[in-house]
């Protein structure tokens, strides 16, 4: 009996001791890693972009972990980063499934990534409901943080929006192409430039269309949109759409499209429909596959850009961009694209705000994102810093325009920066074969 009482007392004592030790936060709540969920398209039609984003994230995490990780004041030590991949399968349902798993099963501290505005906007609701800080580095529609039907206060946008794409492209057309055409063909200065737009029927495409419209109207530019045609995402035969656009006699064509679409549209326009005009495309086309796909039909076309695999603006970020490209190439045997570049920076932003917050508390991280100010990395930022606007939590990039020139040594086109003056390598060239539009 005495032994039994002693045994029970020991058991109770052990339980109490265990209970006490569980109360000690330093032993049970100290995380071994910072879990960053990277939501990307690893499968499906957008997988080439998604893999580039994932690979860029891995390069960033390797660099941060090589330095011991991120110092978190609450635990008074550096904690390594662990990336957890969420494959949205290039679909809305896949995105919802992947984000739900990252948040509820993997219990990530921060989310980074998101490609395709149509896909990303679908699972934003889940992110909002769980209040997980989300740094969007791929989806470019402004609706990502402008929408009001859900609480987007935990969502921060680190890639230019289609508003910026369209605005910079329109300014370039007005300041550079319009004067060049007027000078070459003896047109009066007040002649309205004829612009046609082909856009993907998606938030991305419609965003580019409305941005150009708004910029022309708000800035009272001497330009008119003479034709516009949309198409469904994933289309491969643009010949009829191009024939329709050609019939409007445009001076230039702005194509708000994905690279796999433009790699077909440009040869079809130049070869099949014989459009001797200048095509301008947004930055998502500045990828190695695009240069390979367009062949020599892309010569003299224009890409609005912020990070190119084959060039970089002179200045402070040139070396950092080159170092990133080299590290990426060493690890993955290819070049990073711009969605990769912003995702690379996205991981660094996640690390920096965790450090600034001094904790992995999600609300504290969200506040740290709101007050972030860190030096630009591999992409040129306005004011040279990465920070998010107070209104819609968007970072602001310095965009530039590239003209493609045929390089016989690599049998592909290569970009040269032609605008703005502060960044340009050379001047814009109106090719000999160019034919202006007419009313």
């Amino acid at each position: 009996m005495r032994y039994a009482v002693l045994f029970i007392a020991c058991v109770i004592g052990a339980i109490l001791f265990a209970g006490c030790t569980q109360q000690t936060p330093s032993q049970t709540t100290q995380p071994e890693e910072i879990k960053i969920g990277v939501i990307v398209s690893m499968t499906g039609p957008a997988s080439n972009v998604g893999k580039n984003m994932w690979q860029s994230a891995v390069v960033a995490a390797d660099e941060i972990n090589a330095d011991g990780g991120v110092f978190i004041k609450e635990y008074n030590k550096k904690i390594p980063i662990r990336l957890i991949q969420g494959d949205d399968e290039s679909t809305q349902q896949g995105g919802q499934k992947a984000v739900t798993k990252l948040i509820t099963d993997d219990k990530v501290d921060i989310l980074v990534g998101g490609y395709s505005s149509a896909v990303t906007s679908t699972y934003e609701q889940i992110v909002a409901d769980h209040k997980v800080p989300f740094i969007v580095t791929g989806a470019s529609s402004p609706i990502i943080t402008h929408r009001t039907d859900i609480d987007t206060s935990y969502i921060f946008h680190h890639c230019p929006t289609t508003d910026s794409y369209g605005q910079y492209t329109t300014w370039f057309i007005d300041q550079v192409i319009r004067p060049a055409i007027n000078a070459k063909f003896g047109f009066p200065d007040d002649r309205n430039l004829r612009v046609a737009i082909i856009y993907q029927d998606s938030p991305f495409g419609k965003g580019g269309l409305s941005a150009m419209n708004n910029t022309i109207t708000n800035d009272k530019l001497k330009m008119e949109i003479v034709g516009q045609q949309s198409y469904k995402m994933g289309e491969s035969d643009f010949r009829t759409v191009l024939t329709s656009i050609k019939a409007t006699n445009p001076d230039v064509v702005y194509a708000v499209v994905f690279p796999n679409e433009m790699a077909q549209m440009l040869p079809q326009a130049r070869r099949d429909v014989q459009m001797d005009t200048i095509f301008l495309v947004p930055e998502n086309n500045d990828a190695p596959e695009y240069y390979k796909g367009i062949g020599n039909y892309g010569e003299y076309s224009i890409i609005e850009s912020r990070f190119s695999p084959y060039t970089a603006p002179k200045g402070p970020i040139a070396d950092a961009a080159m170092a990133f490209k080299n590290k990426f190439k060493d690890k993955w045997g290819a070049f990073p694209d711009m969605m990769g570049a912003s995702t690379y920076e996205g991981i660094y932003i996640a690390a920096k705000v965790s450090e600034n917050a001094g904790t992995l508390n999600k609300d504290a991280i969200r506040q740290a994102l709101g007050t972030l100010s860190m030096p630009q990395m591999v992409e040129a930022m306005s004011d040279g810093t990465i920070s998010f606007s107070k209104d819609f939590r968007e970072s602001r990039f310095d965009l530039y325009m590239e003209q493609l020139i045929w390089d016989p040594t690599v049998n592909e086109c290569r970009p040269v920066i032609v605008w703005p003056d502060a960044l340009k390598d050379t001047s814009f060239v109106l090719p000999d074969w160019y034919k202006p539009g007419s009313a």
């Binding site: 499968t43 499906g44 039609p45 997988s47 080439n48 029927d201 045609q229 949309s230 198409y231 469904k232 994933g234 289309e235 491969s236 035969d237 643009f238 010949r239 009829t240 759409v241 024939t243 329709s244 050609k246 019939a247 796999n260 790699a263 077909q264 040869p267 079809q268 070869r271 099949d272 429909v273 014989q274 596959e289 390979k292 796909g293 062949g295």
Partner: protein, 292 residues
Amino acid sequence: MGELEIFLQILFWGLYAGCIYILLATGLNLIFGVMKIVNFAHGEFLMVGAYVTATVFALTGLNPYVIILFSMVVLVAIGAAVERFCFRPILGTGKLNEIFLSLGLIYLFQNLAALIWTDKWQSIQSPYASISIPIGPLNVPLDYIIIIVVTAIILAGLHLFLKRSRTGRAMRATSQNRKGAMLVGIDVERMDVFSFSIGCALAAAAGTLWVVSGQVFNPYMGSIPAVKAFAIIILGGLGSIPGAIIGGLIYGVAENGAAFLLGGMWKDAVSFIILIVVLVVRPTGLFGESGE
């Protein structure tokens, strides 16, 4: 551009698009006619055909229009294997099994292609890419004329095979009445292999013409053409080869006409509207017969 020029241009693009659809739909219809199976994975054979042609082209530099024959032979072998090891064991066990099997094959082929060729989109350039030929008011790239001619030759060859050869007649007999064909001594399982293989070879030809025309390809390219091919064979009449040809042409021209008149967003919609109208007016399709 004058109005006549635009009209002829749109008609020509419709004719070209129709060629790809016709080859894919004819193969699908041949398989359905003989085996009465619904194979949603048929678009994947187009994708494999495209990759085979592109790979041989990259390795040898041979004219892609010559490689089309090799690509068709490869797909004959793949088709025979798929028929023998996938569809034959479940033949007659219910349509649901066929549908789920073909859906599974879609993922299998897509993932295998991604494994072998990666899932990055690719394209090749025809050796005739820079040549155009003036036809009336149009200046038509030579490749499209070759594509139309090649399609016509393949269809003529198929017609002769089905009408004149002993095997072709046996396939038609199996298509018309499977039990009757068995009773007169036709090896219907052999006909299944032939029809499936020829159907796959036609898909390979469509895939080759797809890449030669400069369109990009990736492992996921087959899904949309397969859906359209199904719509075409329903429009033309299940099991009817002439129906597939006429249906493909209607589809190609209607899609492009709609894209010009109503905008690119209507391209797919108009084709399916035509399908609905035809089915309401003539449920068996344009060339289908009751009971088929």
